[in-house]
Symmetry: C2
Subunit: 328 residues, 2 copies
């Protein structure tokens, strides 16, 4: 089994590689080859060094996609993308990477299949950014995709292509619409959504964090561990059960910022909560007000996908996976 991860240098990519290094199998079949690709060559896991190839390339060139697919991977996990803010700031780069790059990948697979029978499984990291406000209170499984960003547009288009290429038997695709990942490891960044993670991650390490919105802001979350689990499940599931509607809103936790803080208090105490500094930022508040807050993910759940059901769980996962099981 040859597994390829494109966009392997990102946060989810690195965690997926760790998980594969730990299991070393997909559905009981040993992984005998692993290809990791990104714009900078991804680091190679020690446990899989002998079977891993790390490649630096730009999927927005069709040659790069063809050269990747010439190795005929059985499972392709496509995570490569530039993020929402950058895709909005740089129209051409966003379309080149997020749309043309994905089209090049899908076309390379089709051309390889024309040469000799080839139908790999393809997992695509999509996003709840395919949806655009105004929303119903709970976004149902048949709600339309009217994105309000170029990033969301590019993801929604890739979803349509994934469904059509799958329907035509060119590959066996699953689109994974990720919730906002929380707690993101690392350091605070300028993403408008950063505070959802910052207000937990920083206090859990004894550092201050800024909360720019009210505690009654609601949003849709899953842990990095849950995100890795979505891809591992999609890699191993019976896709016949999905039918032609190949893009799935993943399960998540709908929670208030105040519920994040209560969970922090229960797990790390009042001293951690006191590290959250309330500094209302109307610009961020306005951006966040346009984001979805809750989904009906029963379709993905019935297909075996699962995520956390409380922020206590999300915080404990962070402590286990990022802090070696210990609080500061």
């Amino acid at each position: 089994m040859h597994v390829m991860i494109i966009g392997a240098a990102g946060m989810i990519g690195r965690k997926l590689v760790e998980a594969l290094a730990s299991t070393q199998t997909i559905n009981g079949t040993p992984i005998d080859r692993l290809t990791l690709a990104d714009v900078i060559a991804p680091s190679v896991p020690a446990d899989l060094a002998s079977i891993t190839t790390s490649r630096s390339l730009d999927l927005a060139t069709s040659q790069a996609a063809a050269s990747l697919i010439a190795s005929r991977p059985d499972l392709i996990i496509h995570l490569a993308a530039i993020v929402s803010g950058e895709a909005e700031a740089d129209f051409e780069k966003g379309y080149a990477v997020n749309l043309t790059g994905t089209q090049n990948l899908f076309e390379a697979i089709r051309h390889e299949g024309l040469r000799e029978h080839y139908v790999p499984r393809v997992l695509f990291a999509s996003s709840i950014a395919v949806f655009g406000a105004p929303f119903p209170e709970v976004i149902g499984g048949e709600f339309f995709t009217t994105p309000l960003t170029s990033y969301g547009t590019q993801k929604a288009i890739a979803e349509l292509l994934l469904a059509d290429y799958s329907r035509r038997g060119i590959f066996d695709g699953v689109g994974i619409r990720l919730p906002t990942i929380c707690i993101r490891p690392g350091t605070p960044n300028k993403a408008a959504s950063g505070f959802f993670s910052n207000i937990l991650r920083e206090p859990l390490s004894g550092k201050e964090a800024v909360l720019p919105v009210d505690e009654n802001v609601r949003h849709w979350f899953a842990s990095p561990r849950a995100a890795v689990g979505f891809f591992l499940h999609a890699a191993q599931m019976d896709t016949a059960a999905i039918g032609p509607r190949r893009n799935l809103t993943m399960p998540g936790l709908s929670a208030l910022v105040g519920e994040e803080i209560e969970a922090l208090r229960r797990i790390a105490g009042e001293k951690a909560v006191r590290l959250i500094r309330h500094e209302p930022d109307p610009t961020i508040a306005k951006i966040v007000a346009g984001w979805p807050t809750q989904f009906d993910a029963s379709r993905a759940q019935s297909l075996g996908f699962s995520a956390e059901t409380s922020f206590d769980e999300i915080i404990k996962i962070h402590i286990e996976d990022e802090l070696g099981g210990n609080l500061q």
Copy 2:
């Protein structure tokens, strides 16, 4: 006012040109230039000969799109497409014409705007093929687009691009999701949907027609005149009222085949109805069973779009527009 129609040689294109030749204005502004483009050079209306340019080109080449847009039309009506059956039979041609062609057009507009301020209105002929079964009994305004054909996929992608380019101010786009056009003029063709028109058009001219499905089959219709009206309204409306959700399911008439036949009986008598030969075709019946039957088009209606409300009306329009007002 420079008006450009791309795909002007098709049935709706020709009727739109006739309508423009009759009004010679858009919102009271005289049309002082008309460009008609298609893969074969469209014929030029006598009344507008002095201001019309007819061009033969393939939008799937980016040079063709750039050369069209260099003339900076104020209103662009993009009807060019290959039809569903052909797009399904020829994957590459379908994507080249219906997707790449549309992308080339939109990009040519963006590049022209980068050179010098330019924000034309762009009307795009989309289709109810963006929807895929299973459907609710009435497809609501927020139902998702999960097409089951490559044609529907290409139209759904073009809709997403149209919305994003409009949101970013690159052009002022409106996506027009057409119902099945009935009564299509011309001769019977092999399209699976052909019989909806054949069973009226042929008997109205004293000829036999074949009905391959039950009379209780329901579908969603508008006349060619209504379709032309959709584009003329979209050309003249205040698009600020639309907001970011730029793709509109047009109003139509949800009717049974039996209701078509009853209207034919009322207007042309029993002798016309007797020209319909019932020849059940399970293949066609199966295809048609996957098609939508009814929409909630209240959003488009509230924006001023309208269509027929009975098959009597649809038949009378055909008699007026195609038969010179006379029955055989």
